[in-house]
Structure formats: structure tokens, C-alpha cells
Symmetry: C2
Subunit: 269 residues, 2 copies
Amino acid sequence: MTENEFLQEYDISQFDRPSVAADIVVLAIRNELTDNYRREANKKLSVLLVKRSDYPFKDQWSLPGGFLLQNETLEECAIRKTFEKTGVHPVSVMPTGVFSELDRDPRTRVISNAFVSVLTEDVDIPYSTGTRETKWFDVEFTKENDTFTLMLRSNDITIKTVMSESSHKFGEYRYKYISGDKLAFDHSLILSSSLSTLRKNADNYYITLDFLPEKFTLTQFQSVQEAIQNKPQITANFRRKTESYVTPTDEYITGAGHRPAKLYTRKEK
Amino acid sequence: MTENEFLQEYDISQFDRPSVAADIVVLAIRNELTDNYRREANKKLSVLLVKRSDYPFKDQWSLPGGFLLQNETLEECAIRKTFEKTGVHPVSVMPTGVFSELDRDPRTRVISNAFVSVLTEDVDIPYSTGTRETKWFDVEFTKENDTFTLMLRSNDITIKTVMSESSHKFGEYRYKYISGDKLAFDHSLILSSSLSTLRKNADNYYITLDFLPEKFTLTQFQSVQEAIQNKPQITANFRRKTESYVTPTDEYITGAGHRPAKLYTRKEK
DNA sequence: GCAAAAGTGTTAACAGTACACCCATGT
DNA sequence: ACATGGGTGTACTGTTAACACTTTTGC
């Protein structure tokens, strides 16, 4: 038998196959409102959640996501789903892990591939449009002793989940539920794990830069870095540390009530 | 309709489902032979490859791997496959990425989940047992300008693949084939990508420690670190840098023709 | 005794931290 | 004028690199 004959007779239905999905943690840096035209807004990290309209977990909040189509890669699936839910077309998404536990979906075996997308350009955040089924939630993920708390807050909804770390091998973060509210499926765990992975990886500046637009100011860069890692930086030091990662252009941003900021592009490695 | 009624009527066959597989880069630190009873052996990184006995890619070398069973997670699948091919039962394996390109398998759509396992305890390496269909190959993966070369050497076989980097976003390394020999499927690319991911992650000492046995000497630790990163360390400095990652026990290894070495355990984070 | 690995001490260079300070702008 | 973010200089501090050196063992 030749290779061609073999392939013609190959029967794919002889193996059980799980369903394969992508779930995306869509994050945005939300500017808090200020009454001062000069003052820079406070930055908060928000995540986009979708209220499920069907079973299973009907009416519960979940990460956007869906099943992989036959003619797309997982990254393409994640980008497509992000676009369908937010209207934003990210150039790329960051993989944060695969969730293959047996009972994570009550319908059938589903392997979920998690991704993170950080939107750094201004998004129209439908923060309080009553009846929509997608909403942005402020994210706080904090550790106290061995307990992790995920707080998700929209203007009228608070989802609080308490977890512990179930494994921390090979730089992967995995959590298990202790008490409190839950998102649909294991999405509270996927969200926590993806956020931890993003935070850890973001100490490599290239990863933050991959989320920024082509041209950006150093303050923008610093804001995104601070929002992701939830840690303030001293400007002078941040600039020196990131000096080798960026190239200055000769363009400036004006009209902000203070000295114009130089635009930079990322330096290729 | 209730959630239970929904689940009873749910038809999983309505969606196309790809096949899901795990492929494992099984690495070992091979000791080169020495004629001096006192002298420490030179350390080389080796990878376990399997000669395919069936179509497709019949008679070509490939990474061990196989399809996910319904009652196991991807990690369990990778551990099972590692055991089936090497006889070694690793406590855990490190995920290094998902390969979901459309045409990577000529039979049908297959999503491959890549893992790395580093065996740090002495393995019986069947380095030159003629007719076996699994063999250890010395690994060299080097970069020159924008060209990457993967050299795999067994005693009588040399597989040399030349590649370029196809993407380097979000800390993921992806390569594309330029010229030379190939492993079956896209396994040359998976191997290169997994090795790069391992090397980068290994600058976090916890990841190297995750591969070491419960008790180890600092020289063992340093050897594994050096083999993975292919970079010699100055002992005095290595010890100071890793001091906060390990806890000394009061056991010693004797009988090596020189001063006994203290055994250490990894310090939990 | 001696070769080899185990393990320590000393110094210099470098990168990161904290903070004081000046610059350029729109209202 | 002035508040604000943009941007720079400097002194201090902790980490890392390089290398010289001592200790302990089996043959």
C-alpha cells in the first residue's frame, strides 16, 4: 500500500474526538472619568463578559468563546470571537493555556484553549447600557495568604469568587474554587489563570508592546504596564528600563494641556 | 425547557470536531563517557525519537505522541505516551504550545498539544541498539543571523533542519522550514519551538527544579540548568543565585572520589 | 600525595530605586 | 500664571560576574 492509498482509505470516524473551543479573556484599560481637562485619568483593568442566553448555564456570565471551525486555527478562532463580541479586531491574541479536565462542560467533552487580548486603544465601553448581554467588568485579582479573590464589578453587579492555588508547576497557574459566585463553566478559573499568566509574562516588556498600537507614547506604555501588573512605576526609572525596547519617531502628540509627548515604535528584537 | 432537558436532547454530532493529540519532546541529560573515575562526565541534551512504522510518514523519525483518550486530560495523555515510549513515568510534563494549523496532518484535522519532559535521573539510553524503532538523538539548536539550525545526531544518523523564525509574539517561538531533512509531520517545528520555550522559561529556576528529583546536589541542579540553556555557569555565582530556591538537608552523597556533596530539596514558593 | 569536585570570600561593574529637578503646553 | 504631564540628572543600593582560594574525598 502506498501513502496515497493509505490516506484514501483512512477513516477519521474510528476515533472518539472531543470538541475544541477557544475562550478569550478580553481586557481593556478603562479610563475613569475626571472633571479636570489636564489630569490624566486613573487606569483600571476591565474584562468583557457575556450573559449566556442558552443552556447550559443560562443567564450566567461567561467569557466570550466558541467552537473551533474546520477552516481556522485556534488563534483565528479567538480573534474572530473577540471581534464578534467587542467589535474590535485584535492583530493577535496571547495563548494562556489549555483546559482539558473531563467534566468542565456538561454537554460533552470540550477542550478549551484560553487566550488573552488586551485592548490598549480606546474602546467604546458599554459600561452601563442596561439590557445588553455583554458588559465590561472591573477586575481585581488579589492574593491573601493562600487565598485568591477575584472581584468582578459592573455598575450594578458584583461577582466575587474565592479560590486556592491547585498547582503551580512549570510557571502555569491553576486555581480551584472555594466559595462565592461563579462564572459559567470553569470560566472563573480560566480568567484567574489567564490573568496570572499575563501578569507574569508582562515583566518581559515585549509582551506588553505586542498589545500596543504601532505608535505610542511612553506614558501610554507605562499605563498599560501598570494596569496589567497592578503596580505603579517611577517614570524616570521606567523610561531607562524600557529604553532598549523602543525607537523614538519624530512625531509628537499635542493638545493635552501640557508638554507634547514623543511617539515611539517598538524596536524589533 | 430546563437545563436537564436541554442536556438530554443535546446532540454533540452536530458540530465538526477535529482530532486532538499530544506530542512530547522527551529530553534527557546524557553523560558522555569518560575514562577518569574522578572526572564528571560532559553533559549533552538528547531527545527521544520514534521511527514511524505506519503511514503517513512511514519510516520517518517523529516525536512520541498520540491521540487523546476520552477519559484522560492532555497532561495525562502526555505522561502516558512518555511512559509507553521511554519506560519512565514523569510526575509532570510542561506544556509548550498548541499547533492547530490546518494541514499539519494529511489524514485529517489534528490539533497537537506539545509538551516537554526533561528526565534528570539516569535513564538507560539505548543509544546504539541497532534495530529498535526508538532512539536517543543528541540535540543542537543554534541561531546564526536569522537562520536556525536543528541538528539531531544518533551514532549513525544525522538529521539537519534549517529554519527561520515565522513569529515571535507573546513570548511564543514559531519556526518555518527552509531546507534540509525533516521529521514526520511538523515535528521539526514543534521540537524547535518547545526547546526554545523551555530554554526561555528555564531562567526561572523553579522550572528546572520541577524536573529534578526530590533530593539533589547543587552540581546536579547546575548541570541540568547548563544543559537546558546550553550555557556554562560559574559555580560560586550559581550557588548564590539559587540560594533562595533550595533548602539544605543533612544528607550527603559520598563515594565519588572527592569531597561529599550536600543534598538539597526545592524550597516551596 | 594528588586530582577532582565541593564550597567560600573578595572585589568591581552594572542595573535598579528613589527622588529632586527642569521643560513645554492649553486654558 | 499655573497646574500638569513630559522628560532628565544624580546619588544610593543591591545583584551579578569574575576569579582566587580553601576543604574533603578515593584511589
